[in-house]
Subunit: 342 residues, 4 copies
């Protein structure tokens, strides 16, 4: 089969031809129909410090995908060939304390698809039955794929109150864009989005943001305080990892409010804990992955009911052969979610 | 001033002329612009057992209203003449354990407007400053009035998870109708409504119910089980007090699900606690009043953002002189919310 | 091996000799060291309506046990021969919505050990690896066994706030007794216990009850209201299933308080929902099983730290041959937990 | 009356003679019996940057106290002369969104006793009726006083789960010491305390710490990881504000765990949000003040039931005239809580 792989340490990737993998007794072999590019994939492609420290090439990367079951292992009970599936990309141990008390998304033995084991930028991928999620057969494969990052958005938004709350979304990459729509669908009264890319600000409006701010032109903190009579937003969703956004994010939240952090700052930041968090009585939530598997069912309901339409977020489609162009586009930020169609 | 009063025990009411009340130092005198009829008012009008046991005539009744501040007591700080206000109708002691730990809505010393003290079916009403809620000046007074019952709906819906949940609403009186819209606005994926009155079933659809069922024609429990592959609804909102609805309501909820009870059955009911509640792991919530005052702020946000449009619920308007016709209509059930315009 | 079995429908049981079971690839064969008698076992022994409707003899019953691993299936990774294990007795499907969102304890496909599949009143029992919980090797097997019912108590007590709360425990069978100790250990300020058996009232005191009431001599509702200046207990734990206890239980809770129902009334009861639950703003929790597996870890911590000492609850020990005497004793109520030693 | 006051900007304080204050209509005049020294008082005494920026001398400082009601204003209903009272030291507006939704402890218009208005290092102090809390008449005044900082400990410990959890307490000043006892009383299975002062480490043991660590001799992070098989503590309570403690605190928490921050770092700190909070799925809580007034009732229950004995925390008593010696002692750290007896 064809696959996009990192064959050795260093930037870039190669389109290779390898034998298709074989499913174990409790695994599924899935024929990938659509696989989308995550920020993590760009880190891998660029071979940044994180990638260099974590990955062990050779590796087929990519983890957001939708595809049809091609073959099932002997002990698989819930799936049959032809099913259209998505996948939770955290393959967890299932035996540790964290897995057994409902925190599998932070299992220390997590093996991530496309990071720690071969992934989905390929014609076929193997996943554990447990990680597979069923979809309606008429769902577009790219929508099946996008449920994974949409799950991050759902997890972040629903990690606390959001109904009848004002919300600030800092950073409008695909997850930020989806978070705007999820927040609105779940009752957020006003959603203000901050994003330097004009392309993504336009998408933010389409996803339902009440107002969209260019932090290069308008001070986001002042904007939020002005909109809220100086009180701040009930909920702040930090989805950029950008130092200024994170630092301002704490100050942007209403006293006693909630700040959910999904974005990953690339280095330690100076935080004024006393004035920004302690005395303001904030709750700060680190958000990792998706709740396994409550988030997936919530995502499914929001899609099936039509309350969230993720389609505008998918802006570009490529063939696997066009991977250089695709990654270049992701790097530019002039896109929403970029999908490989197989 | 003119006022609709219960002058002595017994059915009916009288339109009387009395001196307007005077506000105390921490009270507001409000010129009532719109006052809507609650089920409680019908109980008072009909003089049922509850009313006979609770009320001490003479009494001006009515408690859902919107009006403009006419005069403020000497110590009032937050309001000025001309403000358009609504009122929380539970006047609480503020000193007891319940009031001081955030459960003022069940304060044992509650005096209810229009039940325990003179109410709002009158040209003027006096309320404590603390109970007044400010509104935009351009809000229609009848919308100001309807926030009180909408608050019951908001309290019920948001007493637990609702985003990405399926919801069954049992009973589509005005609060049930508003609960449909609130649940949808807060992310409920599907909302099924049960209501015997064709008039109200039509309103339920307009308020956003996914499907509406006539319990006289279709078994509601079977309907819900069929729609959910036998699993039941995530959330059941019981808003009728009808014995069959309550009994079926518990069986209609998904295992581990939530049943919120707002409707008041007129007599004790046989409940199969072991099979319906204990072994099914349900959480059953008794819902009284509105959270003071979190619910009011939530209601305000849902209205101001346009996420909930309560207007279709207001179906009929009368002058105070037409009260007999108005109460007759409420009794018939061929209406949504009925409002007196003053 | 020897085993206590229900060979055919009808009261009683038989001590039989059968081949020891064999573990499947993901199962453990456990040599039972101690197995305690649950109320469910008495229902089975007595062959009441529930047992007649549910069980399919022949069946080895018994499900609360501690024992050493004798043999492990080929795919078992977490256990080895010699480990001292306890078992979660709900064998669940692992694939349904409920299992996958953290509500496995109400999985509809649950097969209960000793009810739906052969249990632990035997020299050997087979359990899935997933259901096994490891214990310190020096733990007494009867303590290993009692973690199962103690888990019910932990689940009930910790299903909501309990620290700095007043608590009423209705019914002092073994789970009620353990709930007293768990509530105290978790910060309950006063724990009042109600129990008709003098033997068990004495145990209730030993487990830490602040005061113990004989409902035959003192009206429990009046007692609680007197102790709380008429306000009621913050938390009511109903563990008897007795009609009067359940009915009074709702009235005994403080406004806005919590009532957890674990006891199973044998028939539907008349409940005054309007006055007892809705207008009082109560939260009523149906408690089934144990949270899988958070409850087990909580139980382990409470035992390991010495905060809860369950030993006084274990009052009698028998050999399997003495089963008639053992069941007679359980039926009498003049005991705490009764254990078979093997 | 005699009072300890800051008469002008700068270090130190003066014992002055001033007329006793007079209570307003909704205020109480309290004869102070015991007043304890808070870290805030030391900041004021030392006149650090915070004090210089916030205080407007002349001001009587001190805010933790117990005393008897001497006189009540005309509208006071809940208190009478002779009552032994404590005081919530945050005097809030009662009218803002935060006050009205249950977050009064972060009201932006808070006036703090002894900081923004005259305090309790005096023979008499005036407080609003609303801020007064009643005590049993036989309670020692110094215990009445210590409920205020104990409330901080209760608020911190009970801001999330603690029963059956392992807990790390960083910093054993009086609030940290009380937090140890509160955590134990509320079911924490093991409580590890970190404190550089030998004097306070000894107190930590007396308050119930499982083990006490000198961070100058043992690396606290390594200690916690060793005790927890590398997994971390379920709950981390940061009560020192010390940079190393805060930074290590995040790393010390179990994945998906809770870190409550009460200590106030004196400057911004470098925090590795990505690795320490986001990817570890932590919840970080800024803790300000006490919940008004739920925390006070919880504190009362824990004291009245004997579950928490705060007496060992009170180590030194002085007359007001000995203030220089008292503050010198507080500055040294060789003490628990230091009390002025009047």
């Amino acid at each position: 089969m064809r696959a996009l792989a990192k064959r050795k340490p260093g930037p870039g990737a190669e389109l290779i031809e390898v034998p298709a993998p074989r499913p174990g007794p409790r695994e599924l072999l899935v024929r990938v129909k659509a696989a989308s590019i995550c920020g993590t994939d760009l880190h891998i492609y660029n071979w940044d410090a994180w990638a260099a420290g974590r990955l062990k090439p050779p590796l087929i990367f990519g983890h957001e995908f939708g595809g049809t079951v091609e073959e099932v292992g002997a002990e698989v009970r819930s799936f049959a060939p032809g099913d259209l599936v998505s996948a939770e990309t955290h393959v967890v141990c299932g035996r540790c304390f964290l897995c057994r008390v409902g925190r599998a998304h932070v299992c220390e033995k997590t093996s991530i698809l496309g990071v720690d084991r071969d992934g989905a930028f390929a014609e076929f991928v193997v996943i554990p039955e447990e990680n597979a999620l069923d979809n309606p057969r008429d769902m577009a494969p790219e929508i099946a794929a996008i449920q994974e990052p949409m799950g991050n958005a759902v997890h972040t938004v629903l990690a606390g109150e959001v109904a009848a709350c004002t919300v600030a979304v800092l950073g409008c990459g695909p997850i930020g864009l989806l978070a705007i729509a999820v927040a609105r669908a779940c009752g957020a009264s006003r959603v203000w989005a901050m994003e330097p890319s004009a392309y993504r600000r336009d998408l933010a409006s389409r996803m339902g943001a009440t107002e969209v701010v260019d932090p290069g032109a308008t001070n986001p903190l002042e904007f939020i305080l002005e909109r809220t009579e100086g009180e701040g937003a009930d909920v702040v969703l930090e989805m950029s990892g950008h130092p200024a956004a994170v630092t301002q994010g704490f100050k942007m939240a209403r006293l006693g409010g909630r700040v959910a952090l999904l974005g990953l700052p690339s280095r330690p930041l100076e935080i004024d804990l006393a004035n920004d968090i302690v005395m303001r009585g904030l709750t700060v939530q680190g958000i990792a992955g998706r709740r396994m598997y409550a988030t997936w069912y919530q995502t499914r309901e929001l899609l099936a009911s039509g309350q969230v339409d993720p389609k505008p977020v998918i802006t570009h489609r490529f063939r696997l052969e066009e991977f250089e162009e695709a990654f270049e586009l992701v790097r530019s930020g002039r896109c929403g979610k970029v999908v490989f169609q197989l």
